[in-house]
Amino acid sequence: METVKITINGQEVAAPKGELLIEACEMNGVYLPRFCHFRGLTPQASCRMCVVRVDNPKIPKLQTACTMPVSDGMVVTTDSQEIEEVRSAMIEFLLSNHPVDCPVCDRAGECELQDQTYGFGEDRTRSQYDDKENFLERQISPFIYNDPQRCVVCKRCTRVCEEWMDEFAITTVNRGSQTLISSFSGWVECSDCGNCVDVCPTGTLLHVPYKYVARPWDLKQTPTVCNFCSDGCSMLAGSRSEKLIRTVARDGRGRTAGGINHDFLCSLGRYTIDFVHNRQRVDRPMVRRGEHLVPATWDEALNFVAQRLSEIKAQNGGESIGVISAGRLMNEDQYVLRRFAEETIGTKNADFYHDDDEVDLAAFFKYGTPAIATQEHIQSADTILLIGSDPNEENPLTAFSIRWAVRQKAARLVIVNSMPSRLERQAQTAVRVREGSEPALIHALVDESRINDAASAMGVDAGQISDIRRVLVESAKVVVIFGDELRSAAVEALALLEETLATPNPEVAEASRKAHIDALQRAVKSSNSTQKPSINENPYTYIVEHPTLEVAAEPVSSATKFSFVPLVRYSNSMGAWQMGLDSAGTGGLSAQAMINAAGGSIKALYIAGEDVVSKAGGNASIVRSQLEKLDLLVVQEMFLTDTAELADVVLPVTSFAEAQGTQVNNGSQVQFVRRTIPPVGQARPDWMIVTQVARLMGTDFNFQGQLKNVFKEIAEKIDGYSGLSHNLLANEGATIIRRALPDSGRIDHADLHNRLAMLTAAIDRSVAVDSSELTAKAGSRLQNRYPLITRYSEMISPKLAEESALEAPAPVIFPA
């Protein structure tokens, strides 16, 4: 990285070239006060708190450090009588309309206005109290309260909504002292990510669930990891009196702390956590007595399970017992379950529950482990190819990273999808294809001669496909993001991209990239605005002409040209695969096959954390009748789900907030999940229950009741985990699991091309291409994606049900 020398308060220091002065100062230990500046947002320069004196006769006035890039030899004074006076005056202005209600404000204690008044303001004001503008506090969305009087109009929230989320759901209305954060209807229609609340420096925007609940200094803050989608956002869980109260992004408020998600969280990670304290949690073991499940002691329940499993094993052999786990269970749980299946029960039938909604991991890892892209890789990618799936609705952090790459790094986004996606607004090329025809794209990419055939299968122009192919060939680094739409041969063929789409030489890539940036800059100029250029008639794609915001970060890139993000469905689907708890690895029956064989070759099922009945959707009644045929059904669950209700024994387990462990996200990064609160009721961690059952059945795994011993064994036995430990992960944050790259020698090209051709031929060409506009409410698919948990969240569920019934509150207050 190129650095320049600058002098801050008489001290010569180094700073990355092009970095903003405010960031350069902070890197060198000089904190400048600010409200509007926020890492990752475009400069605003409205609060004037970060003013500094730049020693240069051409710059006679004080300068805002948040808009000034550093240059070599710059001499800066950040602290002087003159600057102090300006800052104090700014604070006085901001406070002239601010109520002194800190004692009842939820932000007090982590309020930037409070801190900066304390640090840079005066203890008196010259403004008359009577002259304050009065605005009523009001709720502006199911999750957000707005107290306009506290606003300092830094516009962080509106910029977050626009730049990070691409939603533009909130905005400022009116002007001057009457400026409000509001929206067209006064009611905010958005995906409810809540990021606007988190970046607010004052108590203007507040989380509804956190209102009047706790003081920030009363909270015990535990760094942990989100348990919903496979992005695995790091978050800081705040608990008080053994109750989980809130979660915020771990990096929180623009500070860096090794999380993978900057300051980003989505509605699930933020607002669904109240399921942990839902009163419907199963808080003690339950055993079936006749018709009913009745509470039992742990000893009774465990002995019963061990005894019945042993009986069935003795009668029908180990193969008559199946073990099914959930993709959200942590590595340790999955590993212990696998040992339990292999050693205690002696069955190959062990699988983590996944159906057609899950990425075809068996195909993806068939020839080895392809380079997997992390969020950082996405953010610094040259070109991003998104096939199928809609990260915006399914993996919000991935969508955030894509937007970040397009916005900050001028990445080229190519989307090939059968359904509308909001990301199309950021795309350089967005191709809508027939439903189910996404595999044909891979066919066309690995075999140029098949472009025409593939294009007709997809229902698009062959020219569009060759364009995509050309862009990919000319790009230096490509991140391919794909979901469950690609299956079998199409996923396997991803391994061929590296050789078929190789860039002829670096100059080609460089020239192509330069042409792309030139085109963007021409668009910026022709639109007469440096702020909102029109790219592909798309006014919402931005390119910052001087991408100064992220220069401090070293560019991250993988060794190979292509890297992949499999958008797996659950928080630890990838981990379950790595632990080997997959029928493809064990060679036994898959979860569905086990259920189908229930009553036949399968006599007993041990299901950990998955509601297989609800999962079956339309086939729920079939699955239910299958499960009823079993001699024994053991379920480890948090709630009495449809599956648990059929069980002979229900064993209560801890939620992510009460358990420790490690989980692996879709970037193959393993992260340590800390215990935030003690277990609710008598709940125990999954791995512990399994270990106890195993001991009662005569196999001692020798973990001595210690989770770290489980991980120690994982580190010894599982490929890619060697050298890792809980301590290390707790300190290091997300760590990439590296495994052997695919061995192209093992690929049978002729066979693979044959199977690809069969896939393309099998596409139903009578289906119409969906060219509809995106109409569904943003975020709705996300919230419906994890019904097993979201339905137990009182915060989210009533909202889903009653959303349409909610009436907009009183309209916005307009000026006279």
Binding site: F168, T171, V173, F184, S185
Partner: protein, 156 residues
């Protein structure tokens, strides 16, 4: 959405700018001409026509005092209240009009003829205090001259 004449006007205005969204200010005047104020439907319609987001249009409408988001009187009396005008007695002028018409600041007379508003600097500091009636300026106003203006308008 708009009358045929106004639609034509909008189409014509949009040709003046390289980017559609730039036509937002004149477009809003057309909407206001058509309906007396900028309605919710106007905002939705213009957002669609000019490739903007609804919130962006809302932002613009509420920022400028020449647009109104609720029904107003036929004549909008806007008294500048910024420094120069204030020092030259703008507050008394406002109070005088308020008494004369029997309506408060931001309110409309029952007959729907006048709306009284206080606005920020109108750029006529040298001729303070200034009263703006719709698009016309009245400089160096006094209680008497204001009365005359209102009398004249009432007779119209």
């Amino acid at each position: 959405m708009f009358s045929e004449a106004n639609e034509k006007k909008l189409d014509e205005i949009m040709t003046h700018y390289p980017v559609k969204r730039s036509a937002i200010l004149p477009a809003l005047y057309i909407a206001q001409d058509e309906h007396g104020y900028v309605t919710d439907d106007d905002i939705r319609y213009l957002a669609k026509r000019l490739d903007m987001r609804i919130n962006e249009v809302e932002e613009v409408v509420t920022f400028y005092t020449m647009y109104s988001r609720k029904p107003i009187g036929k004549y909008k009396l806007q008294v500048c209240r910024t420094l120069s005008c204030m020092l030259m007695g703008a507050e008394q002028i406002t109070e005088h009009i308020s008494h004369r018409l029997g309506c408060g600041i931001g309110e409309t007379t029952p007959d729907g003829k006048f709306t009284l508003q206080e606005v920020e600097c109108l750029g006529y500091c040298d001729l303070a205090p200034v009263l703006q009636v719709n698009f016309d300026y009245h400089e160096k106003v006094t209680s008497e001259s204001v009365d005359k203006v209102i009398d004249g308008l009432q007779q119209k």
